[in-house]
C-alpha cells in the first residue's frame, strides 16, 4: 500500500502523466478482491451455467448414447409432474413454518434471557446446544430416540400421563420434520435477537420508563423497532438455509409421505433416477424461485446497509 500511495507524488504533476498511476492505484485497491471473486465465479457460477445447458438435453445417465437436444421438454415435464409441483409447495410450507415459528420462539427466549436472573449463563448454554448438534445427528436423534412409536422418549413421557401413543413420523410426517428443524433453528434466532437486545440503549429505555411508559409500550415502540433489522437478518439467513434443507428430509422420512422438498427431489432425480436433463431443469427452476425470493430478501438486507453506505 505504501508504494501505491507514494506513486502519484513521484510522478510529474502533468495531467497526461497522472493517468497511469491513478489506474495503477485503482487496480491495487481492487487486486485483493480478485482471488476471492475469481474463485467464487469458477466454483459457483460455472457449474450453474453447465446445469443450464444440461437442462435442455434429454439425457439419462444410464443411456448416454440416447442423449439429444430437447428444447424446453424437460421444463414442461417438470412443471406438469404432480410430484414435483407438490415438492414446490412442500418447500414453501416447510420454510415458512420453520422460519416463522423459530423466529417467534427465539424472540420470546431472547426477551427472557435479556433479564438478569440466577443461572442465566447456564440457561443460555442449555438453549444454544440444539444449534450445535450436527444436523444429521439431530435428525437421527429425533427419528430414533424421540419419535419412535415403541420406545421413543415422546411416547415414553406420554405413557406417564396416559396419553395416546402415535407413530409421529407416519401420522404427521411434515410436522415431524418441522418440529426437529424448529428445535434446531430457534436457538439460532435467539442468538441473533439476543445480540440485538443487548445493543439497545439502556438510557433511552430508562427515560421512557421515567415518563411512565408501560413495559408493553416500551416493547412495542422502542424494542421492536430496534429489533427490526435483527428480525430481518434472522429471517433471511434462516430462509437461505431452510429452503435448501436436505439433512432432515433425507434422514427422517427419505422424502416419503409427502415431505420431499425441492433439494431432495433434485437429488433423487439425478442420483437415483439418473435423469440428468430433468434434474437440471428442476435445479434451474429452484434457482428461479430463489432469485424471486432473493430479490425481495436483498431489498430487505439493503436496509442493513443504509447507515454504512456513507463509508464507501
Amino acid at each position: 500500500m505504501t508504494t501505491v500511495t507514494s506513486a502519484p507524488v513521484a510522478a510529474p504533476q502533468t495531467a497526461a502523466s497522472r493517468r497511469p498511476p491513478r489506474r495503477l492505484r485503482a487496480w491495487a485497491t481492487r487486486a485483493p478482491l480478485l482471488p476471492a471473486l475469481v474463485f467464487m465465479i469458477v466454483v459457483t457460477q460455472l457449474p450453474f451455467v453447465a446445469t443450464l445447458v444440461i437442462s435442455f438435453f434429454d439425457w439419462n445417465a444410464l443411456y448416454p448414447d440416447a442423449r439429444h437436444f430437447a428444447g424446453f421438454a424437460n421444463y414442461s415435464e417438470v412443471l406438469t409432474d404432480p410430484d414435483l409441483r407438490k415438492s414446490v409447495l412442500t418447500t414453501i410450507l416447510l420454510t415458512v413454518t420453520v422460519v416463522v415459528v423459530s423466529l417467534v420462539a427465539g424472540l420470546a427466549l431472547a426477551l427472557l434471557l435479556d433479564r438478569r436472573f440466577r443461572g442465566r449463563g447456564i440457561v443460555r448454554t442449555l438453549l444454544i446446544a440444539p444449534f450445535l448438534v450436527v444436523p444429521v445427528a439431530a435428525a437421527l436423534l429425533w427419528k430414533h430416540v424421540l419419535y419412535n412409536p415403541e420406545y421413543g422418549l415422546l411416547n415414553g413421557l406420554l405413557h406417564y400421563v396416559g396419553g395416546p401413543q402415535p407413530d409421529w413420523i407416519s401420522k404427521t410426517p411434515l410436522l415431524a420434520v418441522e418440529m426437529s428443524l424448529i428445535w434446531q433453528w430457534t436457538p439460532f434466532m435467539m442468538l441473533i435477537l439476543l445480540a440485538g437486545l443487548q445493543s439497545r440503549s439502556a438510557e433511552q429505555i430508562e427515560a421512557a420508563r421515567m415518563d411512565g411508559a408501560s413495559p408493553w409500550q416500551i416493547f412495542r415502540h422502542l424494542t421492536l423497532p430496534h429489533l427490526r433489522r435483527y428480525l430481518e437478518l434472522g429471517a433471511l439467513l434462516g430462509s437461505i438455509y431452510i429452503v435448501q434443507n436436505f439433512d432432515a428430509v433425507f434422514t427422517l422420512t427419505s422424502g416419503g409421505l409427502g415431505t420431499a422438498n425441492l433439494p431432495y427431489t433434485v437429488y433423487q432425480t439425478f442420483y437415483q433416477a439418473h435423469e440428468n436433463g430433468l434434474a437440471s431443469a428442476a435445479g434451474v427452476l429452484v434457482v428461479i424461485g430463489s432469485i424471486i425470493i432473493a430479490t425481495f430478501a436483498l431489498r430487505v438486507v439493503s436496509s442493513l446497509f443504509r447507515e454504512e453506505v456513507g463509508r464507501g
Partner: protein
Amino acid sequence: MNLATVLKGKGLGLAAWLLGIVFFLPIAWMVLTSFHSEENAATNPPSFAAALTLDGYRDFFGAGGGASPWPALINSLVASLGSTLFVLLLALPAAYALAIRPVKKWTDVLFFFLSTKMLPVVAGLLPIYLFAKNTDFLDNIWLLVILYTSMNLPIAVWMMQSFLAEVPVAVIEAAQIDGARLPTVLTRVVAPIALPGIAATALICFIFSWNELLFARVLTGVVAQTAPVFLTGFITSQGLFLAKVCAASLVISLPVLAAGFAAQDKLVQGLSLGAVK
C-alpha cells in the same frame, strides 16, 4: 421495587430455566441413552435409572466388528480445517479491500458474494459430480475442501468486512504518517482490533463445513466419506442399536459442541454478522 415485581421477575427467570431444560432435554436424553446397554435403551416406559455402560461407545469405535469411524472423522477434520484455512486466505484480502480501502461500488461486490449463497447447492451439484467423475476427483477429500471454501467464503467476506470496518481509518492513516509500513500497520493496528471477529468467522466456517451432508453424500464414497455421511449409515438402523446411534451422534457433534460452548459470545457476535450495529 415492590413484592409483586420481585415475584414477577422470579417467575420469568423460572420460565427461562424451564424452557432451557425443555430445549436441552433431547440432548440430555441422548447422553443418558448413549451410556445404556442396548436392552435398557429401547424400553417403554423409558428407563431412567438403568446401569451405565460404555458399550455404545465401544460398538461405535468398531469393537463390535462394524466399520471404524476414524477415517471419516479424520476426513471431516481435513475438510473443515482445510476449507476454513482457504476461506481465511481468500476472504481476508477481500474484506480488507472492501472495508479499509473501499473500492467503488463495494456494496455491489458484497451483494454478489451474498447472492452466491442464494444459489441453491442443487443448482450446481450435477455438473460438479460429472466433472469429478471424469477427472477422477470423485471420492477425493480435496474436492470437498474446495466446495466448502466456496460455501463459506461469501459469509466470511461479509462478516469480516464488517469487523474490519470497525478499525478507524484515522488510526491507520496516523500510523502511516508516523512512517509505519503496511506489514506493521496490519500486525500492530488492524490485527488487534479485528482478531476476535476473524476468530468468530473461522469458527462459523468450521461448524458449517463439519455439518455439511449433501455435497459429501453425493461426491464421496468409501475413501473420502465424512462424519455426517458415516452417520447416514444409521438412518435405517432398528432399535437394537439405539445406544450406538446416540454415542455416534454425540462423538461426531462433540467438536462443534465444544467449540460452540467455548466461544458463545463470539458466536453471538459472529452470527449477527457484525452488520447490524
